[in-house]
């Protein structure tokens, strides 16, 4: 076996240091690679969570937006419906005034209407025991005769103040029919309201559906 000389030691030292340097570089290179992986992993995880946050916010925003729009449509429809009701009430109210004025100016028309009201009441009630006239003016005498022609001589007739018409009672007084112009008016309102609305609203396009 050859003895190790100091010259040999020097070569060994160089080789060993070279190996140590290589190993150190490898350790650091590995650490750098691992560090890059860590950064990449954190970044991907954060990006995924960020996307989730934004998606959740978008969903929540859209839900809130739908609620806001539905509420606006609901309020708009409700308000539009109120306007339609107000408009129709105004038309009917004006029509009622027109009718009252026409009746006060035209007694013949008033008597005809009263006769029609009572005839209708008689048809509805069948047998009449008593008639209570509802009058606005002082025309009882003339009207009594008109009414007697319709209901017959045996029927008791009285008169009191009220909207044009009459209350007809059955002979036993247990059943009665209110044959008043006001009732006819209310019936007409129910019947005409949708027809008139259809006529006027038809020209105004409807609100968006929600």
């Amino acid at each position: 076996m050859r003895k190790l000389l100091l010259g040999d030691i020097s070569r060994i030292r160089e080789a060993a240091l070279e190996e140590a340097r290589r190993k150190a570089e490898e350790i650091i290179s590995l650490a750098k690679s691992e560090a890059e992986q860590i950064i990449l992993k954190y970044r991907m995880e954060a990006s995924r969570k960020a996307r989730e946050l934004i998606d959740r916010a978008e969903r929540s925003g859209l839900e809130e937006a739908r609620r806001i729009e539905s509420e606006a449509i609901r309020r708009a429809k409700l308000s539009f419906s109120r306007v339609k009701t107000e408009i129709m009430e105004s038309v009917f109210s004006r029509a009622w005034n027109v009718i009252r004025k026409a009746l006060s100016e035209n007694p013949e028309l008033k008597y005809r209407i009263l006769k029609e009201l009572i005839s209708r009441g008689v048809r509805e009630l069948g047998e009449v025991g008593m008639v209570e006239l509802l009058l606005e003016g002082e025309e009882e005498e003339k009207l009594m005769k008109i009414i007697r022609d319709i209901v017959g001589g045996e029927v008791k007739i009285s008169a009191s103040r009220g909207p044009l018409g009459a209350v007809l009672y059955s002979p036993d007084g247990r059943i009665y029919v209110e044959a008043t112009l006001r009732n006819v008016f209310e019936d007409a309102k129910r019947k005409l309201r949708p027809l008139l609305l259809k006529e006027v609203v038809g020209v105004i396009s409807e609100l968006p559906q929600g």
Partner: protein, 118 residues
């Protein structure tokens, strides 16, 4: 011979120290990487929260704008309806009068016209 052994021990020691230093440096690199990654993660999430808030606000703002437009559209239609009905009022009243008084078109029109003339 003892000189040689001493040299060899020194080499061993040097190699061990170099490896230790490399490991310490690697540890430092990893620690720094984790710190930076965490900082970046927090920054990404902060930005995302801000962006999410903006996205939601933008959507809601747009919905509020549309809601305002719906209400304004309704007001405009309501006004048009009122105006239309105002113009058609005599005709509508005539229809009611015809129905209630059970009279014809001409008679009802006379009654309505007289009312409006007065």
């Amino acid at each position: 011979m003892s000189e040689v052994l001493r040299e060899l021990r020194e080499i061993d020691e040097l190699i061990r120290r170099m490896e230790e230093e490399a490991r310490a440096e690697a540890k430092r690199i990893l620690k720094l990487a984790k710190e930076n990654a965490e900082k970046e993660r927090l920054a990404i999430l902060r930005n995302a929260e801000e962006e999410a808030r903006r996205v939601k606000e933008r959507i809601i703002e747009e919905a509020r704008r549309r809601a305002k437009s719906i209400m304004s559209d309704y007001l405009e239609r309501a006004e048009r309806l009122k105006e239309y009905v105002r113009k058609r009022e005599p005709y509508l009243i005539k229809k009611v009068v015809m129905e209630i008084l059970n009279i014809g078109d001409v008679d009802a029109e006379t009654i309505v016209r007289r009312y409006f003339e007065d």
